[in-house]
Symmetry: C2
Subunit: 338 residues, 2 copies
């Protein structure tokens, strides 16, 4: 069975296509009797209105986009699930986009969204994003944007974040309390809000405990897995006194585990490791990984709830605010003596 | 700046909205001079055509959907990435939908897609799906469907699968070669094509090596994590002679690890474990997990390539065929003596 379209209805009723279209969209230009006939024929022939025609009338796509830097990261998977649980309730569709941490891809995605494909956007910045015109341009077309986790301070809208400074401080303090004196810091970018806050917390803890800040054991690992492996390997080979490592993202802790395995460095005996992570296998790793875990699912829910509240109210701007949620420390074998 | 819409252009040009609309869609009913004026004004005022209007004209949404049972599974994440890499090349958007293995949700998603939102669908069935009318209904509206991994034999279209029978046989044989004689089999459903093929391979290997098939150590774990934990715990407590476990999906191997930890069962000394899995942390687990790994990224690429080839050719039906790709065995500590 091929799809029944407006043309088929018009032919069957011997009226123009625009009459059928206007009748179905309840236009005042069409009489009640004609509308009734069109509706009946549409029902009889199994006509299924194209949602995009409806979108044109209502100016609502009933779709939101969620833009994340990577899918191979449990934090983002859980955040998407949280947003999805709310979207489903609201009978909305979610378009999931992945930037792979590439600025140009982020720009291209946002430009594509300028033309009414979605009513709103929930996003977390790519690690290579340093300018924000593509985002302000999108907002100017009337699409609301809510940030989560990797936010842009410069843009006035709602931002769902976690207590990154405090968590960075606590992670470092936890290593210091477990006798670490030379703590390396591995992040993915010196451009990202989250990495910078976590680093400030790291600096603050070192200062509090009178430990020196050493730039040669602070690294940004923005490359692919192989590049990052080599960066971390070089640092661990050159700085034999490193006894603690703080990773700001999950994947760097896994790469660090692989490097330690290759170099025969025992965790936690020689080096203790703590990482921001929502990895479900963290308790099953060898050794189990101590993590700072963000409330990812709740952050996604919160971002979506805020966006929908706004969409239903038809206000033109979302209030500028930071909503700060708490991360949690899970102490496991990688930072404690066995 | 609010969005410039057709109405604004009509007002500025002092013509009707339908004139503007028809001029922009290059209708033969509108003169060349008028078209030129409308185009110029549209450019001046920064008018950005709604893609859905374009979709109505061309009857193409430039969007495909990928429907997966769960996101918290590296197999599906990698398959999505593979499909995404092809979609990007083709300048298509991907809608990602998650059924959470719930039949009703799958039905609801497919019904929503009947109205032209997407040009094609790549899907892997929910574990609770036993009837397929929602899928044939969608195909009848002209939307092409390509299956991957969890397929439906009854529907005539392309299906990207792996050599599940052979892999199931090899996984079981690998345990037998490592001296296992009482091998439990944990799947998520007796309805799924993949679970059944893998189970047939398991039966075949047991038969080849003259080992008995014991129904009380064969389980379907379709519940939530907690339910599955209890199911597996009960089996391991009741059947003390189990010395090998074959899990058909990644998450069951992790649950099995947790159960073994709680019961103090040593892997691989007391029980050896092999699992279908694309888990990136498999080599880092305690002990590292022996896996049968599917070419997930390639399967996603293949499914998308096939779908796009078809969409560009405007054929009405995709040829019925099974495309079988090979999985790979990665032997690690969980099945070998330490």
């Amino acid at each position: 069975m091929s799809k029944v379209i407006l043309k088929d209805l018009a032919k069957a009723l011997n009226v123009s296509i625009s009459t059928v279209g206007r009748a179905l969209s309840d236009s005042h230009e069409i009489g009640v009797e004609t509308k009734k006939k069109v509706m009946q024929m549409a029902a009889e022939m199994g006509y299924n209105p194209n949602p995009y025609a409806g979108s044109l009338r209502s100016r609502k796509s009933k779709t939101i986009a969620i833009i994340v830097p990577e899918l191979n990261n449990n934090f983002f998977i859980q955040a998407i699930s949280g947003a999805e649980s709310i979207a489903q309730e609201q009978d909305y569709h979610i378009l999931i986009y992945v930037t792979n941490d590439i600025f140009e891809k982020e720009v291209s995605i946002l430009n594509d969204l300028q033309n009414g494909r979605v009513d709103g956007v929930i996003m977390s910045l790519s690690a290579t994003t340093t300018t924000f015109k593509h985002i302000t341009d999108l907002i100017e077309t009337g699409v609301n944007v809510v940030f989560f986790d990797r936010i842009c301070h410069e843009i006035e809208t709602a931002k769902i974040i976690t207590d990154d400074f405090t968590s960075g401080f606590k992670a470092t303090e936890h290593l210091i309390e477990n006798k670490c004196k030379n703590i390396a810091f591995f992040a993915i970018s010196d451009k990202l809000s989250i990495d910078n806050k976590r680093k400030q917390g790291y600096f603050e803890a070192l200062t509090k405990y009178d430990l020196p800040i050493k730039n040669d054991i602070i690294a940004n690992c923005i490359g692919n897995e192989n590049d990052n492996f080599n960066t971390i390997k070089k640092i661990l080979k050159t700085n034999k006194t490193i006894d603690g490592i703080f990773c700001t993202v999950e994947k760097l802790s896994l790469t660090t585990y692989h490097v330690c395995n290759e170099l025969g460095i025992k965790i936690p005996n020689k080096i203790k490791i703590i990482s921001f992570s929502n990895l479900t296998t963290a308790p099953l790793l060898n050794p189990s990984l101590t993590t700072i875990t963000q409330p990812a699912f709740e952050m996604g829910m919160h971002a979506a709830t805020l966006l929908f509240k706004h969409l239903s109210r038809k206000k033109s701007l979302i209030h500028n605010e930071n909503i700060i949620m708490k991360s949690k420390l899970f102490i496991r074998e990688s930072t404690t003596s066995q």
